[in-house]
């Protein structure tokens, strides 16, 4: 547990020190992320060796105090967060287009890292409210780094995020009023299917879905994520929307009474399928590159929602493995995609998808990164996205009665293939290539490729990963 705390504290302390001493170099954040990654990795090792660990903060046991829990899933998420931050930080330190110079990008990214770590570790409903607010504020603060043009989407995001928090908080208040405790496990033991509990869960679900941009509450996401600076878009899509999802998953799989989960599961799963198709369609239609990538986030979250829904409907906890594999694979792929897209957009001087004509020649590595990451989103083997889809498909295909759901997954796959290859095919257009405004920066392109390779590497690592994730969900 100490290691997990260290993984939280390192970026937090670094951020505060950078603010206090006005340090401007990204080296500090890179070092802190590296240290945090190391600690998280060791924490994971510790969990695997010794099992789930809990910490009563301040020595006060629940229900009085706040409890941290380090399960193998939490540890994996800590590793994932630190790794993503490390990759993005290296990119931001290097790239010319990162808006990291002369802004508070570095401390903000450290705070983002710490907020996420706090969220993964906490198991207290109210504490989650505070971490959610932290996430929302830090996300908005980072979006507006890209200048006044981002103000409008940022404001919209902030207002919706605040409203969502208050929905969530009202739900927390109801649960506290009903059961008198805030700890997840205590609630799980006490919860009953009465009217107050239903309403509380409904309120919290609406708030969390809004924050996680789950269909149909996703409308704020494309503008917000696409108007942020490139490095920030990557962090937002890869990490920030996953925080509320984590809480949603815990709430429904632990606290919600069984007879509620079945009907809610159906709704979640249907929303997931619609998200896959609607998000894919929007990504296929949009003329702007980063908006395309942002819509793809909406679509990909559909897989997570589908997994969540079916897991609730059938009470099959092994589907949580699929859920979290989707989250990990999507996160890495999205980092790569946003970095590649941002780098190409800045170098080629246009936000439009059409400007990528001939990009395989002018910026081969970035385009390759985009394609490779896209391959994981589609679910081509042997990528992380493939493994996730595979795990999701297994129970769907086993019984003929569940085959319609598999059809949904198939359609989602085709939709994602369509929008990824819309871009890829265009980039081979040599007849009418867009000349770059600057010399393309090979190192930044390679950095964009790194997470894409990592997500394909995830597949080779899938067996232990599946094991850890299923231990956490059992």
């Amino acid at each position: 547990m100490t290691l997990a705390l260290a993984s939280l504290l390192l970026p937090l302390g670094t951020a505060l020190l950078m603010l206090l001493l006005r340090l401007r170099s990204g080296i500090w954040v890179i070092a802190a992320s590296l240290g945090s990654l190391l600690c998280a990795g060791l924490a994971l090792h510790e969990v695997i060796e010794q099992g789930v660990q809990t910490l009563a903060i301040g020595g006060w046991r629940t229900p009085l105090g706040i409890r941290f829990e380090l399960s193998s899933l939490t540890a994996v998420l800590l590793v994932f967060t630190a790794m993503t931050h490390l990759l993005v930080a290296i990119y931001a330190q290097h790239s010319r287009h990162s808006h990291a110079r002369n802004t508070d990008y570095w401390p903000l990214s450290g705070l983002l890292h710490a907020s996420l770590a706090a969220l993964w570790l906490s198991r207290d409903l109210f504490n989650w409210y505070v971490t959610l607010e932290l996430l929302g504020l830090v996300a908005v603060a980072m979006i507006i780094l890209s200048g006044p043009r981002a103000h409008a989407p940022a404001l919209r995001y902030l207002l919706l995020s605040l409203a969502a928090s208050l929905c969530y908080l009202l739900g927390v208040a109801l649960l506290y009023g009903r059961y008198g405790v805030l700890d997840l496990d205590l609630l799980a033991q006490a919860s009953e299917a009465d009217h107050s509990t239903r309403m509380a869960l409904l309120l919290m679900t609406v708030g969390l879905m809004l924050k996680a941009a789950l269909w149909p509450l996703h409308l704020w996401l494309p503008a917000a994520h696409s108007s942020a600076p490139t490095a920030v878009s990557a962090l937002l899509s890869a990490l920030v929307v996953k925080g509320p999802l984590f809480i949603l998953w815990l709430l429904w799989s632990r606290v919600a009474p069984v007879d509620m989960t079945e009907s809610a599961g159906l709704l979640f799963a249907l929303a997931g399928i619609v998200a896959l198709l609607a998000g894919g369609w929007a990504a296929l239609r949009t003329p702007l590159l980063k908006t395309l990538v942002a819509y793809s986030t909406v679509a990909q979250l559909g897989y997570a929602l589908l997994a969540l829904g079916l897991l609730l409907r059938w009470q099959q906890s092994e589907l949580s493995v699929a859920l979290w594999l989707f989250v990990l694979a999507h996160g890495l792929a999205k980092v790569s995609m946003f970095l590649a897209a941002g780098e190409m957009q800045a170098t080629l001087g246009s936000k439009r998808v059409a400007s990528l004509k001939g990009a395989t020649q002018t910026m081969p590595v970035a385009m390759f990164a985009f394609a490779v990451a896209g391959g994981s989103l589609i679910g081509l083997p042997p990528s992380g996205g493939f493994v996730a889809k595979w795990v999701l498909l297994q129970p769907l295909l086993l019984e003929p009665i569940h085959w319609p759901w598999a059809l949904g997954v198939l359609l989602g796959t085709l939709a994602s293939a369509a929008y990824v290859f819309r871009v890829v095919a265009l980039s081979f257009d040599r007849a009418d290539a867009t000349p770059p405004d600057y010399d393309p920066d090979p190192f930044a392109q390679w950095l964009a490729l790194l997470p894409a390779i990592a997500v394909w590497g995830l597949a080779l690592f899938s067996q232990p990963l599946i094991l850890w994730l299923s231990e956490a969900s059992g």
């Binding site: 505070v130 908005v140 409008a152 404001l155 902030l158 409203a163 208050l166 009202l170 506290y176």
Partner: protein, 100 residues
Amino acid sequence: MSGASLYLGLGVLLWLLGLHGLLRLRHPLRRIMAINLMGSGTFMVMVALASRSGHNDPVLQALVVTGLVVAVSATAFALRLAVAHQAHRSRQRPTGEHEE
């Protein structure tokens, strides 16, 4: 009907009023006020819950204090953001530039 129930209902009503305002109104300042109404409603539910059955629940009150700080920080940020956005727009408009 006890005082606590009254304020529970009032809190819910305020929350709903705020939500409605957020969804229906367009002006950023109004929307920010609407969100604050939602917040006040939520806090009122919490405080009413804290005061039920006579003795006060310090935990809930503490939660409301925390919530209040969070709410005021976020409100202040949102207001400043709205002002900056407005300033940017009014700077742009006279020169005839178009936003995308």
